[in-house]
């Protein structure tokens, strides 16, 4: 069982308290009605499945209830960083640094 640091509670809590909520930093445009089929497909259906670093959303469902973002390594399952929803995506340099 993983330990996950909720950036709102600022505490490591057991995985049982959390729910995964899919890939992070996917932008849902406000003017969706005008999206092409291809753009909609890419936005809604197509997801990364990397062996390595993944940026994903979690919800502290049985805690504070907040959605937040995480940088996780899919091989080690190690959480390299968690940060609040709305904060920018970590840069590639920062991710490289986190992996050290």
């Amino acid at each position: 069982m993983l330990l996950i640091n909720c950036p709102y509670c600022e505490d490591d809590r057991p995985e049982l308290e959390f729910a995964n909520a899919g890939e992070a930093h996917i932008h849902r445009p406000k003017d969706m009605a005008d999206m092409s089929d291809e753009a909609f497909e890419a936005m809604f259906f197509i997801r990364d499945n990397p062996k390595g670093v993944i940026l994903e959303r979690w919800r502290h469902a049985h805690g504070c209830g907040r959605f937040f973002n995480a940088v996780r390594h899919t091989v080690s399952d190690k959480f390299l960083k968690t940060y609040m929803a709305g904060e920018p995506r970590p840069s590639d340099d920062e991710i490289t640094e986190l992996m050290k």
Binding site: M1, R28, A33, D37, F45, R66, F67
Partner: protein, 990 residues
């Protein structure tokens, strides 16, 4: 020594674990005596019994091979009674208790005579890859031939025929240092960590701590025996408050972030366990640091006919002698490639056991060992191998040959043969921690590499062979200091060999994996047939795939493959070890989570009233809901019929408290509702309610429910009973991440409100006198009204709403008043001839009106348009969840399934939900299905069966005749609209 007398092989001078008390048990129905502290294997060996099982594939007679969890042969069914019976228990691990029943496995009719042994004669057809080559075609052979064969052959032992009455516990624990393994290394590390004030958990799978120190009685640590030294360490650890010692506790799994799972066997060794105790306890430990001190596992020699009962590991023989006081034979041959076997031979010789010869596969053996052997009068032959053994149910001779000799052999009569090819550092937990083992060419073994987690391997699992070195390593591993003690031992440690001995021309089967009956030739065949990675060899031959996870066989299999491939061992690869380390009961994993404790049961405030009225219940998500209220002598169909017709003629009262309820509040509440629901919420006036549909962004229906607008900033949202949590989750997702600028707050109020539905022509007459603060006359409070008022003087939210098609009200009162208000309503309803009705009648009545149930009539691929709900999808809103998805080409294409009604031509015939629909019943199989039934009921009100279905182009097929083929008949149906009752909706407005 005489094998027919009781415990004839008991050696009184030895046996540190053994007490004086006799313990009586049965093995295959025959009564045996052992001593307290015996394992089943040691007790049987004390009675001269080696034959303990038949092998899996060839049904060859097998004896016990090991003295620990690595045992591949002596697997037993251990029983207390029909419910307390466990298959595949290792006899070398199971402690005996009075009254224990042990049964050998995989034999018919008896262990001595087994019909399945014919497989042994057929062995040329059971070669590696046999399953892949054989069980292919024709398809019909699967039913008739292959499946029965595989089922019979797959798995040993028998599952219990009754439910497990035992209790299993689950505990969480945290500690600074977890030490897995309580041998010398583990004890030192635990003590060093505890001395520094760390909280420590030390576990060992055995009943006692000390590990190998208890098997080797010649070791002296500063003058103390291993047993004395271990006992003193345990005494000191027990006296410390910061240490928890767990015996009979296996570290079965090592997961992320130092989560380690321990399986503690609490009562498995007791004759009459205290009923207060759980049978097993699963510990989930989060450790600051994990110290792996798993030790090493001895390997057997791979030579022809190396599996006859009586042939076993040398270290096991030493353990049986020194821990259990049992000699494994009277005339014991030795075949080894490792010095440690000599220690076993010398101990046995000391107790008067004849050792006719030691065959050493190596060309050299040290002068010191030669000298000791000479003292015991033991003949040592080096540079030779065993190429043949004889003996049907017990080994009785071995034939040896010098490596260089092409012929010429010597035979030795024996009643046991002990072998050792070396020791494999146990990397199971290290590998589970996702560490990558590294090959050490000097000692030809894999050792732990870097640790990806906060963990350290010490002792023989880390390749540290010298006991004096272990003292330093173990203490330093936890930041302590230690001095090397003075160690004395009769035989020093040495490395061994991996792979098969002899030549490929040797006859007989040289077993690599005993539990799965894999021979050296099988591995050679796999390599010849193109399996060049050990992962492929493993799967093709099943080497290492039995429940022992190749504890004995992996290294041999790897070495044999590497030699044939002419590659270094690390290039052929090592397979990954998986949790659990040893087979673990399901009960242990399940713990308390079964029966009534499997999931929480949610009950409404009115639940007990329904119980008192004799209602039948059904589970709906986690809720237990009243399904119907049978009167004396009524069947379910009778009760449901009566309830429906009473509601339609008079009235009924229904507990709708399980409906999900969400309070949506804030200046942007209406704007938020506009996003979340397909329809518009701006124009809805406070005091009015509306049916809403929620989609996902893909355009498929996610949930539905009636929403009341209490004020311009407050909505009372209802969801389906099962959907409340996911709807709130989705709403939260959108408020938190997509529209964080919106001023809107969400609160789950499902359990705050008790909801009482009163439905039927007399609904107003029942409710009106109880209501104050709002006029509920028809014209003042029309259908789809909502008001905050009082009911029975209690603050309430009253809806005029209907899921039955009748005049109806839903009274929401704070949950604590639920039962009182319900009873007040009932006190008015009952004298008027109304009934209480359950979910089944509710389902029938809503189907009569064509109201859908999300999740029953929809399945995650149904759009609002498919479900006939286009009227509830706003056209002018710039955005709502699902708007873009609904424009996808496939969702607007022709030929989609649409929700329609079905009437059976024979009105008495009720369709089965899920039944498929075809247009032409005469077509050949497989038929073209054009749809399926989603809801189907008998409607007593209409005196006919009614159904809803998803049907291709359903809206264009009104009036068509279609067919529902069933196993015994084909049912003719007519396509209709979905509203079967009161199509104009006049009754709602009464």
């Amino acid at each position: 020594m005489n094998s027919t007398s009781q415990q004839a092989f008991r050696v009184k001078a030895r046996g540190s674990r053994i007490g004086a008390r006799s313990v009586s048990f049965t093995f295959d129905g025959k009564t045996f005596e052992g001593l307290e502290g015996d394992t089943l294997a040691s007790a049987l060996l004390a009675n001269g019994v080696h034959l303990m099982g038949r092998s899996f594939k060839y049904h060859r007679p097998r004896g016990v091979l090991a003295a620990g969890v690595e045992e591949p042969n002596a697997l037993m069914q251990i029983s207390r009674d029909n419910s307390k019976t466990t298959p595949n228990v290792r006899a070398s691990v199971q402690e005996i208790y009075d009254g224990m029943k042990a049964q050998s496995q995989n034999r018919y009719p008896s262990l001595n005579f087994d019909i399945g042994a014919v497989n042994n004669l057929l062995s040329p057809v059971f070669v590696a890859g046999f399953y892949y080559k054989t069980f292919k075609w024709p398809a019909v052979a699967w039913d008739k031939l292959y499946e029965p064969f595989i089922r019979r052959a797959a798995g040993l032992g028998e599952a219990p025929t009754e439910q497990d009455p035992d209790r299993y516990a689950n505990r969480f624990a945290h500690c600074d240092v977890l030490v897995a393994g309580g041998g010398a290394a583990g004890l030192i590390a635990a003590k060093a960590a505890a001395d520094k004030g760390k909280s420590v958990i030390l576990c060992d799978e055995n009943p006692e701590f000390g590990g190998w120190l208890l098997s080797d009685t010649d070791i002296r640590i500063d003058g103390q025996t291993g047993e004395e030294w271990s006992a003193e360490m345990v005494r000191q650890l027990l006296a410390m408050d910061n240490v928890r010692l767990l015996a009979r506790t296996t570290c079965v799994g090592y997961f992320q972030q130092n989560m380690v799972v321990l399986n503690e066997r609490v009562t498995e060794h007791l004759s009459r366990p205290n009923v207060e105790l759980p049978r097993e306890r699963m510990w989930q430990v989060r450790a600051g640091k994990v110290v792996i001190a798993q030790g090493a596992i001895e390997r057997h020699m791979v030579f022809p006919d190396n599996d006859r009962p009586g042939i076993m590991l040398a270290g096991a023989a030493q353990t049986y002698l020194n821990k259990y006081g049992v000699a494994v034979g009277a005339n014991v041959g030795v075949y080894t490639a490792c010095d440690s076997a000599y220690a076993a031979a010398f101990d046995l010789a000391e107790e008067g056991v004849t050792i006719p010869v030691v065959i050493d596969h190596r060309d050299q053996v040290s002068d010191d060992i030669r000298a000791q052997a000479k003292e015991f009068g033991i003949k040592v032959i080096t540079g030779a191998h065993v190429y043949c053994t004889t003996g049907k149910l017990r080994v009785n001779s071995m034939s040896i040959r010098h490596h260089k000799a092409s012929s010429g052999s010597e035979d030795f009569e024996i009643d046991a043969l002990i072998t050792c090819s070396g020791w494999t550092p146990s990397l199971h937990l290290y590998s589970q921690s996702r560490g990558k083992p590294q090959w050490d060419e000097a000692t030809r073994r894999f050792l732990p590499g870097e640790s990806p987690q906060e963990c350290v391997s010490i002792g023989s699992c880390n390749g540290t062979d010298e006991l004096a070195d272990i003292f330093v390593e173990a203490a330093e591993a936890v930041g302590g200091k230690a001095q090397k003690p003075k160690i004395e031992d009769d035989v020093p440690t040495s490395s061994g060999m991996v792979g098969a001995t002899g030549t490929s021309a040797d006859k007989g089967k040289a077993f690599v994996d005993f539990q799965n009956d894999v021979t050296a030739k099988d591995i050679a065949l796999a390599v010849r047939e193109g399996m060049h990675s050990i992962e492929h060899v493993k799967r093709y031959t099943t080497n290492g795939m039995a429940t022992d996870q190749g504890k004995l066989s992996n290294m041999h299999g790897l070495a044999i493959a590497a030699k044939l491939l002419d590659k270094p061992i690390p290039q052929v690869g090592l397979t990954t070890f998986r949790a659990p380390y040893t087979p673990t009961t399901f009960g242990s994993f399940v713990g308390h989570a079964r029966g009534a404790l499997f999931d929480p049961t949610r009950k409404t405030p009115i639940h007990e009233w329904a119980v008192e009225q004799g209602a039948e219940f059904e589970p709906v998500s986690l809720w237990n809901r009243a399904r119907y209220f049978p009167k004396a002598g009524e069947t379910m169909d009778d009760a449901v019929d009566r309830e429906c017709q009473t509601v339609r003629k008079t009235a009924g009262v229904f507990d709708a408290s399980t409906l999900g309820k969400i309070e949506v509040v804030g200046p942007d509440a209406a704007a938020f509702m506009n996003i979340m629901y397909t329809n518009g919420w701006d124009k809805l006036r406070p005091g009015r309610a509306k049916y809403g549909i929620m989609c996902r962004d893909d355009g498929f229906i996610y949930d539905d429910g009636v929403v009341g607008k209490l004020s311009s900033t407050r909505f009372h949202v209802t969801t389906t009973t099962g959907g409340a949590a996911r709807v709130l989750n989705m709403m939260e997702d959108f408020t938190q991440t997509e529209f964080p600028e919106m001023k809107v707050w969400l609160t789950s109020t499902t359990e705050q409100w008790a909801t009482i539905a009163v439905q039927g022509p007399k609904a107003r007459e029942i409710v009106e006198p109880l209501v104050s603060g709002v006029n509920i006359a028809n014209e003042k409070f029309p259908h789809m009204s909502v008001a905050e008022c009082q009911v029975c003087g209690v603050p309430a939210r009253l809806f005029r709403i209907s899921f039955t098609g009748e005049l109806g009200f839903e009274i929401n009162v704070p949950a604590d008043y639920g039962r009182a208000v319900w009873e007040a309503v009932w006190a008015r309803a009952e004298p008027l001839g109304a009934c209480a009705y359950g979910t089944e009648a509710m389902h029938v009545m809503r189907a009569e009106k064509g109201f859908i149930i999300v999740g029953q009539d929809t399945d995650g691929t149904v759009t609002p348009h498919d479900a006939g709900l286009s009227w509830a999808v706003a056209k002018s809103k710039p955005d709502f969840v699902g708007k873009r998805g609904l424009q996808r080409p496939d969702l607007i294409a022709k030929g989609r399934r649409q929700l329609i009604g079905l009437k059976t031509k024979d009105p008495k015939k009720v369709l089965q939900e899920g039944a498929q629909i075809v247009a032409d019943p005469e077509q050949s199989i497989p038929m073209k299905m054009v749809g399926f039934v989603t809801s189907s009921y008998w409607s007593g009100t209409l005196d006919q069966s009614i159904a809803m279905a998803m049907l291709e182009d359903g809206n264009a097929r009104m009036g068509e005749t279609l067919y529902v083929p069933m196993p015994d008949e084909t049912i003719e149906v007519e396509v209709t609209g979905t509203v079967f009752y009161d199509p104009k909706g006049e009754r709602l407005h009464g």
